[in-house]
Amino acid sequence: MFANFSSIALTILGALTWGLLLGGISRSVTARIHGRMGPRVTQNFIDLWKLFRKTSSIHHGGMFWMAPMFRITGAICVLIMVPLVVGQNITYNMSFAGDVFLLIYIMFFGCLGMALGAGNSGHPYAVIAVSRGLAQMSSYELSFSIAVVAIAVGLHTFKIEGIVAAQQAGITSWNIFRFPFASAGALLAFLPMQMAYPFGIVLAPQEIPIGPPTEYSSRMLSFMFSGRALFGVAKLILFVSLLFGGASSWLGLFVKTFLLYMYPVVVSSVFPRFRTEQSIRFLWFIPTTLALVDLVRVML
């Protein structure tokens, strides 16, 4: 029991550190692509600590305070329900507890809490961003869910443990090779999940300056940042488990999540931005069709 608890705590701490570090690396990479020096790799830790120590005197009602907690809760639930390293039972945390559909629901739940909190803040920009974000979420959830269903039906299991275990017979047994179309759909849906361009309409820094967290300040903002970092890592680990055969060692885990994280960073630094209806049209047609192709193939 104690081992289980400490493993969960360590997982959360490690995921937070890794997520913040990845964020710093991504800022640096983006800066280099722009031809700038860019901030330190540790900049996100500094920002987080500074925000945590600032005073806070802004109040917008109960849901406003709950929203970052919703997000962090959702991220932690996803994090502890996915096995980290295959074969090391201690890192399986709570992965016996649910299946992939629960994970998708919890991911949606975190974003929904965030949307409610931002809506409660009453700032018009936050509300616009939330409406755009929910519209976009409803479109990428579709292709992602169909891709997950295709994989689950193909492997005859909805348990995330089972999906990981089915991919342990060498690289060719990874789902990205066994279900190439579904994987392509899921990877295209990964871009809007990470709010990467061309699907960055939610945070749109040009018109609705930073979107949902407009009214959040100091300590609440630091919670929101750590929630985003945790959620990012949780999504990375979920994707590695679903498509890239899980991780057979700690090194493999870090390498795989790092490479997967760099994919939206590199894509987003060279693309302009879709409008909401363009991004919805794209996500409903191309990734959904790709995922459906594999679903039909598996069903037949």
Binding site: G35, R36, P39, R40, R53, K54, I58, H59, P209, I210
Partner: protein
């Protein structure tokens, strides 16, 4: 919700924590994207690859809720001062002000204007003045590094001074803003 008393001074136990926090504050200055005068045109190049303020951890934030630094960029009209006070008081503590250009120091070339205030220090607590008309981005970066040094040494107390001497500042502000309609406490 309102802060009715001056902030407490950090005791000896908090000294080390405060020092670490000051290091973090100095290396992560977020600027309110609010331009008051001609100088805000000199702030834009700071974000470009030539000057690149992000390497010092300086970033632009679109809302005063999340910012640390308010830059008064150039001449300040009485009408703008009203908005600036509102923005400044909505920034969460600790907060700093950098004032650019000779207009904020003594009025500069608008010293006899009917609408431009002369000495900014009477109305808001300025931490760092950057002189010039207008200062180039290099000079602004120099001002930022000065502010960073001040924060690291724990000498950037403009916001505390503002709270302790609120009556003085309010009196001066109300002298030139004749239709005062702000609340007496904005934070």
């Amino acid at each position: 919700m309102y802060c009715n008393q001056p902030p407490e001074k950090p005791g000896n136990k908090k000294e080390l924590l405060e020092k670490i926090t000051n290091m973090a504050r100095a290396n992560s200055l977020w600027v309110t994207a609010y331009g008051t005068g001609c100088g805000s045109i000199e702030l834009r190049p700071l974000g470009t690859s030539r000057f690149d303020m992000e390497r010092f951890g300086i970033a632009m934030r679109p809302t005063p809720r999340q910012a640390d630094v308010l830059i008064i960029s150039g001449y300040l009209a009485t009408k703008t001062l009203k908005r600036v006070i509102r923005v400044y008081e909505q920034i969460q503590d600790p907060k700093y002000i950098i004032a650019l250009g000779s207009c904020t120091i003594n009025g500069g070339m608008y010293f006899d204007s009917y609408n431009t205030l002369n000495v900014l220090d009477k109305y808001l607590p300025v931490d760092v003045y950057v002189m010039g008309c207008m200062p180039r981005p290099e000079a602004i970066i120099d001002g930022f590094s000065l502010l960073m040094q001040k924060i690291k040494d724990g000498r950037a107390h403009g916001w505390k001074h503002y709270k302790e001497n609120l009556d003085y500042y309010r009196e001066n502000q109300k002298k030139i803003i004749t239709d005062w309609d702000l609340p007496d406490y904005n934070w």
